[in-house]
C-alpha cells in the first residue's frame, strides 16, 4: 500500500515487475555501451586526424631544413630529410590503417544503436497497446455479465491475442539479443584493438629502422660524444668576437 497521493498505482501491466526490471537493465547496458562506443568512435576519428597532422609536421621538419640551406645542403641533411619523409609516410599509412581497423568499424558499429533504440521503442509501443487492450478487457470483465458484454469481451480477447503475441515476440527477441549483443562488444573490439596494437608496433619498428639508417648516415657516435661535441661547438661560437658574450 502506498500512502503517497501523487504516486499513481501503475496500471497493471502484463509483464511482471521482475521482467520489467530485467528489460530496463538491459536497456541501460545498451545505453552505456552506446556511450562508450561513441567515445571510442570520436577518439578514433580524432586519432586519424592527429596522425595526418603529425605526419605533415614531420615531413615539414625535414623539408624546411633542406629548403632553407639552399643547394649546398650536405648529404647528411638530405638523409635527415629522407628519414623525416619516411616517417611522414609511415605515419600517414598508420593513420590509414587506423581508419580501416578502428574508425570505420566503429562508425559502422554506431549505426546499430539507432536501430536498436527504434526496436526498443516499438516494443514499448506494443507494450502500451497490449496494456490498453488488457485494461479494456478488464473493464468489461468487471462489468455485469450481460450478453452484449460477453460478446464484447470475446471480441476484445480476440483482438488482444495478436497484439499480445506481437509484443511477446518483440520483447523476447530483444531480451534474447540485447545481452548477447552486449557481450559481443568484447569480441567486436578485440580485433580492432589487436590491429591497433600491431599497427603501432609496426610503425615503431619501421620508424626505428628508418632512424637507424639515418643515424648511420649522419655518422654520429654515441649520444654522450655528440652532446660533448655540441658543448665544445657552443664554446667555440661564444669565443668568436662577433658574438656577444653576455
Amino acid at each position: 500500500m502506498n500512502w503517497n497521493p501523487f504516486y499513481r498505482q501503475p496500471k497493471k501491466s502484463i509483464l511482471s515487475k521482475m521482467e520489467e526490471r530485467d528489460f530496463e537493465r538491459e536497456c541501460a547496458k545498451m545505453q552505456q555501451l552506446e556511450e562508450s562506443s561513441k567515445k571510442i568512435s570520436k577518439t578514433s576519428k580524432k586519432l586519424v586526424v592527429a596522425h595526418h597532422a603529425q605526419g605533415k609536421a614531420c615531413g615539414k621538419l625535414g623539408q624546411d631544413l633542406v629548403a632553407d640551406l639552399g643547394d649546398d645542403a650536405p648529404p647528411s641533411l638530405e638523409s635527415f630529410k629522407y628519414a623525416m619523409n619516411c616517417q611522414h609516410i609511415l605515419t600517414v599509412d598508420k593513420g590509414k590503417v587506423l581508419q580501416q581497423v578502428l574508425a570505420d568499424p566503429m562508425k559502422k558499429y554506431m549505426t546499430i544503436f539507432p536501430s536498436c533504440t527504434s526496436h526498443i521503442k516499438s516494443r514499448d509501443k506494443a507494450l502500451q497497446e497490449t496494456n490498453k487492450v488488457q485494461a479494456k478487457l478488464e473493464k468489461y470483465e468487471d462489468k455485469e455479465h450481460t450478453a452484449s458484454n460477453s460478446v464484447k469481451i470475446e471480441q476484445i480477447k480476440k483482438s488482444l491475442q495478436p497484439v499480445k503475441e506481437d509484443f511477446q515476440q518483440k520483447h523476447s527477441t530483444l531480451m534474447a539479443e540485447m545481452p548477447t549483443f552486449y557481450d559481443a562488444r568484447l569480441s567486436y573490439i578485440r580485433p580492432s584493438l589487436e590491429a591497433v596494437v600491431s599497427v603501432q608496433c609496426w610503425f615503431h619498428k619501421e620508424a626505428i629502422r628508418v632512424l637507424e639508417e639515418c643515424s648511420q648516415e649522419l655518422g654520429m657516435g654515441t649520444k654522450e660524444n655528440a652532446e660533448k661535441h655540441v658543448k665544445t661547438l657552443m664554446q667555440e661560437v661564444n669565443a668568436l668576437s662577433i658574438t656577444s658574450d653576455d
Binding site: 592527429a50 570505420d104 584493438l193 668576437s241 656577444s244
Partner: protein
Amino acid sequence: MSEHDGSSSGDIIEDQAKNELAEGNGFFIPTVTFEDSFEKTDTDILNENYGHIYESFERLAAFSEKDRSICNPIEGNADNRQDKCKHVIQELVDTEEDFLQDVRITIDDIMKPLLDTKLSRDVDIETLFGNIEDIERFSSSLLLSLREACNYDTSFNLMDNEELRDKVGQVFISHISIMTDVYKIYCRNHDDAITLLEKYENEEFRQFQCKLIECLNSVKKKVNAFDLGSFLIKPVQRILKYPLLLQELLKTSKQEPYDARNDSYYSLMEAINSLHEVANTINEVRRRKDLVRKYRKGSQEVHLTDKISRLSLHSVKKKSARISLRLSHATGINQPDTVDLKFNEIERDFKDLEKAVKLFLQNSDAFLEQYQNTLSMELLFAEHVADLCLSDQTDMVLKYNFAMRLVVEDLSRCFQDETLFNVHSPLSSLLAKFKGPQALIDKRFDKLLDYENCLKNPDTKEKTQMAKNVYEALNHQLLDELPKFCELGFQLLQACIGIYIHLQREFQLNMLKSLQPVLEMGRQSPLLYVGTRSSQHDTISIVENYKLDLKEVVEHWGSYIIVPNTFNLFSSPILRRNSSKKPYSKVETIQTDECRMTLLQKYKPDNLYTAIAPVTPPSEIDLSCITNQLFGVIKKQDPLGNVNKWLCDNGATQGFLPSRILRPSNESDYGVYFAQRKYPQSSCLVPGEQCLSVYEDTKQVSKHCSVPSSHSSGSLESYQPIGTIGFKDTVKPQPCTTGIAVLCRNDEEQRIAKSILANASIDEADEMLDDTEYGETATNPKKFYRVEFPFTARTTLELSVQEGDMLTLIVPHDLEGNAEWWLMADNKTKQGYVPANYMVKAEYL
C-alpha cells in the same frame, strides 16, 4: 719624431678607443727597460714614456717609414761597427733567452698550479693566459734557430758580420708567419686577460688571490716581478722589441742601401718590414675587435634614457644622413658602389642558417606537440576501450592501457624533456647568438653608407679616410669571423639533428618495448615477419587479418533484429576504397536509372557518350566509371586545353574522363546495355500492337545498319540491337511506367512489367557490382537461342541464319574475346559466328 706622425691618418674613434683603454683599463707599461747599448742610440724613442702599449706599435710603424727614407747607416769606424754587430746579436739572443725563461716561469709556476687547484667556476684561467704556451713554443724555436744560425755556442766570435746579419734576417723571415699567428691571438686576448685580472681583485675571488700570491712568492726568488700583470705583458713587450733590435743591427751595416749585392742588408730590411707588418696586423686586429665590441651591442636592449643621453648633434646628423641614403638605396635609385661579393655571399649563408635554425625549432616544436597529441589520443582510446569493457576487462585491455599510460606519461615526457634539453636549448642559444653578428652586419651597412656619403660629398680627406677605415675594419672582421660562425653554427645544427634522431630512435624503441608484450598477447601476431616484406604489405596484412577476425565475430550478426540491414561491414564502399591501390578514389557511384534519365534529358544525343572501359580515377577531380556507363560530355577538353581529357557528367557528379574510353552513344547503344541483362525480355510485352509496330521499325533500321567488318574491332554503335525493343520506350526520357503502360493491356500485365523493371534495376546494380568485382561480365549463356533477325555470313567463319532458327551456343565470344560475336551451331552441326544481339534466349522451346 712627433707622436702624431704615426696616427695622423687614424680616426677619431680609434683615438677614443685608445683613450678609453688607457684610462679605463689603467694599462700602462711600467718602464720599458732596454739594455745598455740599445738605450744610447735610440734614446729619442726609449726615453719617451709610453702612454699605451699599442701606441708603440703605431710609432714603430711610423718610425720605420722615416727610417727607410731618411736614416742611413750610421757613419763610424769599422771596428766599432763590427763589435756592435756582435753585441746586438748577443743582446738579441740573451734577451730572447730571458724572455723564454720568463714565459716558462709564467707557465710552470703560475698557470699550471692555478689550473691544478680547484677554483670556482667563474675563474677563467684559460682566458687569463691565452695561448701563452704557443708563445713559449715559438720563442724556444726562434731561440734555437738563432743560436744555430750564428753558431752562438761555438764560433760566434769568429763569424763574419755580414753573414751573421744575413742569417739573423733569414731566421726572422722564416718565423714571421708563425709569429703573426701566435702573437695576434695573444695580443687580442691580452685585453680580456687584463680585464679579468682586475675583476679577480674583488673580494669574491679571494681564493684565487691567495693562490696567486702563493705562486708569485715562489716565483720571486727566480725573477724580479711584482704581479701577474707584469708577466702577462711580457710577450706584448717582446714583440715590440724585435724590430728595434733588428733596426739596431741594420745600423751596424756599413753598406750603402742601394748596393744590390749586399744580401744581408736586404734580408734584414725585409725582416724589419715584416715585423712592422706583424705589428700592424696585431694593431689592426685589436682595433677591429674594439670596433666590433662597440657596435655588437647595438642591437641589444638599451634603455630609452640611455639612448636619449647618447643623442648628440653629431649622431643626429649622422643618422639623418644615413636615413636618406638608406631610402635611396632601398628604392633602388642608388646602388652602393662598393660591393663586396664575398661578403654578400657570406651574409646570405648567415641568413639562411639563421632561418633554418629558426624554422627547425618551430617545426620541431610543432612536431612534438602533434606527437603528444597523437599519443594522448591513443591513451584516450585505451581508456575508452577499458570503459567499454567495464568489468569484463581482458588481460590485453588492461595491459594495453597500462602500456599506453607508461608511454604517454613517462616515455613521451622523457623524450620531450630530453629533446628540449639536448636539441632545443643549444639551438635556441645558437639562435640568440645570431643577434651580435646581425647587429654588426647592420652597422657595417651603416658605415658603408657613411663612407659612400663621404665619397660623394667630398668632405675632408680625413673624414673619408676615417669612414673608410671603420667600414673596412668591420667588413674585415665580419669576413673573418662570419664564415667561422656559419660553419660552427652549421656543425652545431648537424650535431643537434644527430642527437634528435638518436632521441627519436630511443623513444621509438622504448615504445616498441612496452607495446610488444601486448601484441604477443593478441591472437594475431603478423609482425613476426616484419622486415622481410615491404612496409606496404605489412599494413595490408594487418588490415586483412583484422577483417578475417572481425568476420568471424560478426558473421551471425545478420540474424539479429537489432542489427540493421545496413550493417554490412565488408561490402561498404568506405572499406573498399581504402585499399591502397586507389588512393584517391571517391565512393564509387553506380549509375542509377535516374541519373541516366537526367543525362538523356539534359544532353543532346551527340553529347552522350558511353565508356568502353572501366576507369579508376587517378585524382579527385576525375570520375570513375565502369564499362557501358553513360556520360554527358560538357566540354571536350580540360581547363588546360588538353583534349585527351573531357569534362563529363555522370548524372550525379561532374569530372574528367580520358577521352579514349568514350564512344558516342545513342539510345540503341543504351539498349545494348539492357540487352545484356538477359531478362525474359519482350516475351511478356509482345502482345501489344504498338509493340509490334516498334518491332517493325527496328527491323527496318536493322536492315540498313552495317555489319562490322571484323570480329574484334566491331564498334558497338554500329549494331542495331535486337533484343531490346520492348524496353526501348522505357529508356526514352519519360517516366518508365507510362512507357510500359502503353505496351500493356491490363493491370495485371502492368504489374508484371513494373516488377520486371524493378528487378531489372536491381539485377543491373548487382551485375555492375559484379563487373567491378570480377572484371568480366558473367554472362551465363543459356544453351539455346532463337534467331530474331536473318544474318548472312560474309566469310566462312560466320554462320548464315534465318529468322526463327534455333541455335546452340558453343562459345559466347569470339577467339579474341569479343562478346559481340558468339560461336553458334545449328542443328545441321554447322558452326560459325553470329552477332550476339541477333539472337534471343529461347525460353520455351
